[in-house]
Amino acid sequence: MPELSYREAVRDALVRAMRQDEDVFVMGEDIAEMGGSMGVTHGMLEEFGPTRVRNTPISEMALAGAAIGAALQGMRPVAEIMYEDFMTLASEQVVNQAAKHRYMSGGQLTVPVVFRTQGGAGWSPGAQHAQQLEAWFVHVPGLKVVFASTPEDVRGLLWSSIYDDNPVVFFEHRTLYGIKGEVPDEIEPIPIGKARVHRAGDDVTVIATGRLVHDALKAAAEAETEGVSVEVVDPRTLQPLDEQTLVDSVKKTNRAVVAHEAVTRMGFGAEVAAVLQYQAFDWLDAPIERVGARFAPLPFAPVMESYVVPHADDVLAAVYRTVNKRV
């Protein structure tokens, strides 16, 4: 099995889809000669040319909207929105248009478009370049929402997103592009709506997304040395949500921690907690812990930035709180 970085894995899915399928193309700001601000599309201009690797002006509304329009006419565009913060600009097109055309037309249309975007703190860009807004899109019927945390997942899920006939908002995490992992030789599509159990455990379930999956695994390893057995589950797709896998895990462990980098208040963890307390009420031995960013914009100074967003030790502390609650 070849080893790919998360960045290369995203590219691999794009390249393979474009090789086999004329309808697939990519568009976004600085994705051509520069290969994207995160280097994801590096080299693709050379292989596919400027018609299928399209640099756009700084026009998030039009770039998102043009991708939707092309999708309505049978193409499978993958539009890159450079930073999640700029999804605010694209949100009218994504939320009022892409998510609703099929419904408003009574099923006449399909909208096979993917909006790739990325965010995440840890490099001190300040308050407008690292927000995590995935929760917004989970609230919008008609959209699918993916947030992958490993090279294998990001490749298999991007592939499935490209070939899904619905609009998919595809979140990548800025600090994960460099991580490496083995992937199958051939792309194995990963079904949208299937969670992944990264680590089995008996005492506490940690449900984590994006960067926090890796922090959760660190925390789990640490907890093990203290005799606490932690199960780590990554939903991978936030919409549709694989509630069954999450609930089954919690019914086994009787304790849950939900962890993501986004602000805790009204973050995705709130939805997971609401689902778990409802479906596993009689199984829960402790309150569901939420780990997420503190309630502040992202500050510039590294010491402050690192204080605002959660890390492995925050997950670990939450895990311990859930078990202490027992005794």
Binding site: M61, A62, G69, G142
Partner: protein, 324 residues
């Protein structure tokens, strides 16, 4: 509806008579919609385009099969002109399954994909970038098709408009952007919403070719639309088509128009009615006109009967079509 021969520049009397019939059908249809809404039969939020029929008919007549349009909140005329049967449109306004959006859309969300109607949009400017994108798809696949967006003067102030036209021109996609300039955005007169008096100036910012026509003269609209479409179709780039038109009624059905001198609308109806203009041009006798009127009125009446007898969706149907 019957297509006019492509290369033709002048229109045969028969074509013009068809257009008159079509404009009259739209007029009577919308008058009926106003009546049924006031009678409390129609749910939702409706906007009629009475006075603007020549824009819809002139442009849609100029289209070829395979061309697509995106419409606005004021969509009945565009929808009928693009070929949706009055029965299907009326059924939609009554929220029935036989409606052109199967009861999911309503007056502001009329779709008829088979006939090239990509949908009416209730968000100002919302459909424009998608027309740029549809045209891009045509360009990438080398199809001789054009994507056409309708929008109003008020829409020229929204960023979506700016970005969509800029991108269309940058990529020279086969699109035509049709401005139906009725000088009102709801209650806001053009002088209060735009710093310039000739909205064709907007096109300059993108280096886009602009063409202008009197939106009350259907033949002029048709001819200019043909040129615009030809320009787009032949790869010479998109066109900004500026149609000077008028809104005879309120912004929405029921609008008391406190903001507008009663005089204005009456004067426009008397002097700028596209139907009266074409009727006179064709020299129709009262008898001939009444015959035409009776014919379209019967179609409209039939559409109401059809709609009322059509099928109500079941409540649970609301959960269908959320995802493909």
């Amino acid at each position: 509806m019957a297509k006019v021969e492509a290369t033709k520049t002048a229109l045969a009397k028969g074509d013009l008579r068809d257009m008159l019939r079509e404009m009259l059908l739209i007029r009577r249809f919308e008058e009926k919609v106003e009546e049924r809404f006031r009678a409390g039969e129609l749910p939702g939020f409706l906007h009629v385009a009475i006075g603007e029929e020549a824009c819809a008919v002139g442009v849609c007549r100029a289209l070829e099969d395979g061309d697509v349009i995106a419409s606005t909140h004021r969509a009945h005329g565009h929808t009928l002109a693009k070929g949706t049967h009055p029965n299907e449109l009326m059924a939609e306004l009554y929220g029935k399954q036989e409606g052109c959006s199967h009861g999911y859309g309503g007056s502001m969300h009329l779709y008829d994909v088979e006939r090239g109607n990509m949908g009416a949009n209730a968000v100002i400017g919302g459909g424009l970038p998608q027309i740029t994108g549809a045209a891009l798809a045509f360009q990438m696949r080398g199809e001789p098709r054009v994507a056409v967006a309708f929008f109003g003067d008020g829409a020229t102030n929204i960023g979506t408009f700016h970005e969509a036209l800029n991108l269309a021109q940058l990529w020279k996609v086969p699109a035509v952007f049709v401005l139906e300039d009725n000088r009102w955005a709801e209650s806001t007169p053009e002088s209060q919403h735009s710093p310039i008096r000739d909205l064709s100036e907007r096109a300059k910012a993108f280096g886009m070719k602009s063409m202008k026509a009197d939106g009350q003269e259907v033949e002029a609209v048709y001819r200019t639309a043909r040129k615009a479409l030809e320009n787009a179709r032949s790869g010479q780039g998109p066109v900004f088509l500026h149609l000077d038109t008028c809104r005879f009624s309120g912004h929405y059905i029921g609008d008391p128009q406190v903001y507008r001198p009663k005089e204005e609308a009456r004067h426009l109806r008397e002097t700028r009615d596209p139907i009266t203009h074409l009727r006179e041009k064709l020299g129709l006798t009262d008898a001939e006109f009444e015959e035409l009127d009776a014919e379209v009125t019967a179609i409209v009446e039939a559409s109401v009967a059809f709609a009322k007898n059509a099928t109500d969706p079941a409540p649970e149907d609301a959960m269908r079509n959320v995802y493909a």
